[in-house]
């Protein structure tokens, strides 16, 4: 059975290796098209003018960062619970119950909070359950930990884009680069948490590092809903959500926004896959060094 699972894994990897160049070309074409749509095809906003077009890079980058941090959260939970059979089966049941409860809540709870659509509640619940079992199926053992590291690193890159493009939009529109409002501050805290996660992974040589990092990632992920819902819960200077939050957006602008998000998602998947392969290779080399050190203790010093 184990050999068959390893064979399956190699099959997936070979398939992915062959698909990689095609996917890279498609992503490059999609990114170019999305850039054209954002800079040329999208209508100019009446109040802010052209500077509003920053939104087509700022918002998709934020959504992509949130998704990557969420995958990191799922991987971190799995890494921790797989160490214990009972905890693993409890986590499986929690994931199933969460999906079912979200679908039931979408049907039963009336009225839902302002701006929350029943379909988005059900989709989010099912996405959580689906992602949990996808990671479980395709990433076993230390590969879960590798995926957690990769998604945190790429998530930090996208979160950096959010923190850089936000002030570049705020300066001409608000007249200031930065304000300590809840949305902005919680995003900065999120970035700092994941920077500390990466520092822990980089500089700690302890065997317990993956466990500590997984625990830190779970706390970090708790900040994601706070960032996302802060503009619903608190009075903030940040613009209200344009999708599902009572705000409105021109359908042509929404189309450009979604095209850009799709392009950034493909780009993030591409970087994650490259970084994941690099991480697996790195671990194999470290293992060889460790084995050599065991065979010849003088060479390890």
């Amino acid at each position: 059975m184990k050999r068959q699972a390893e064979g399956d894994e190699c099959g997936h990897e070979n398939c992915m290796k062959r698909a990689f160049p095609i996917f890279a070309v498609l992503t490059a074409v999609l990114l170019s098209y999305a850039l054209y749509e954002a800079l040329v095809a999208a209508p100019t906003e009446q109040t802010m003018g052209n500077v509003q077009r920053i939104f087509y890079y700022h918002v998709p980058s934020a959504w992509t960062a949130f998704l990557l941090f969420f995958i990191n959260f799922v991987c971190s939970i799995q890494y921790l619970v797989r160490r214990d059979k009972v905890a693993d089966s409890i986590a499986n049941w929690v994931a199933i119950v969460l999906g079912v409860a979200a679908c039931a809540a979408a049907v039963v709870i009336r009225p839902l909070p302002s701006g929350v659509e029943p379909s988005s509640v059900a989709t989010t619940g099912l996405a959580i359950t689906g992602l949990y079992f996808l990671v479980k199926r395709y990433f076993s053992g230390s590969r879960t930990d590798a995926l957690a590291l990769v998604t945190a690193e790429v998530g930090v890159v996208f979160c950096t884009v959010v923190l850089v493009t936000g002030p570049l939009w705020a300066r001409p529109v608000w007249g200031i680069w930065w304000t300590w409002d809840v949305r902005l501050t919680s995003t900065l805290v999120l970035w700092l948490i994941y920077i500390s996660y990466l520092m822990l992974r980089r500089f700690s040589a302890s065997g317990q590092t993956p466990v500590l990092a997984a625990a830190l990632a779970i706390f970090g992920a708790l900040d994601v809903p706070l960032v996302y819902f802060s503009i619903w819960i608190f009075r903030t200077q940040h613009p209200q959500p344009v999708i599902g939050g009572g705000g409105s957006i021109d359908p042509r602008m929404l189309h450009v926004l979604l095209i850009n998000w799709l392009a950034f998602l493909c780009f993030a998947a591409l970087i994650c896959w490259s970084r994941y392969r690099l991480e697996v290779l790195q671990r194999e080399v470290e293992e060889i060094h460790a084995m050599k050190g065991l065979q010849d203790p003088r060479s390890s010093g």
């Binding site: 920053i54 850089v164 080399v285």
Partner: protein, 45 residues
Amino acid sequence: MNFLYAAYSATWIIHITYLVILVRRYHNLRSEIDELKKGEPAPGH
């Protein structure tokens, strides 16, 4: 308009910098693997 170009340029500078870091890491790892292979005894010995 300057802020718009600055934001788009900054986005791509961040992504390209990260990609360059990844490529450099990959080359370092490849040379490390090559050195490990050189140190291995030839098959059959």
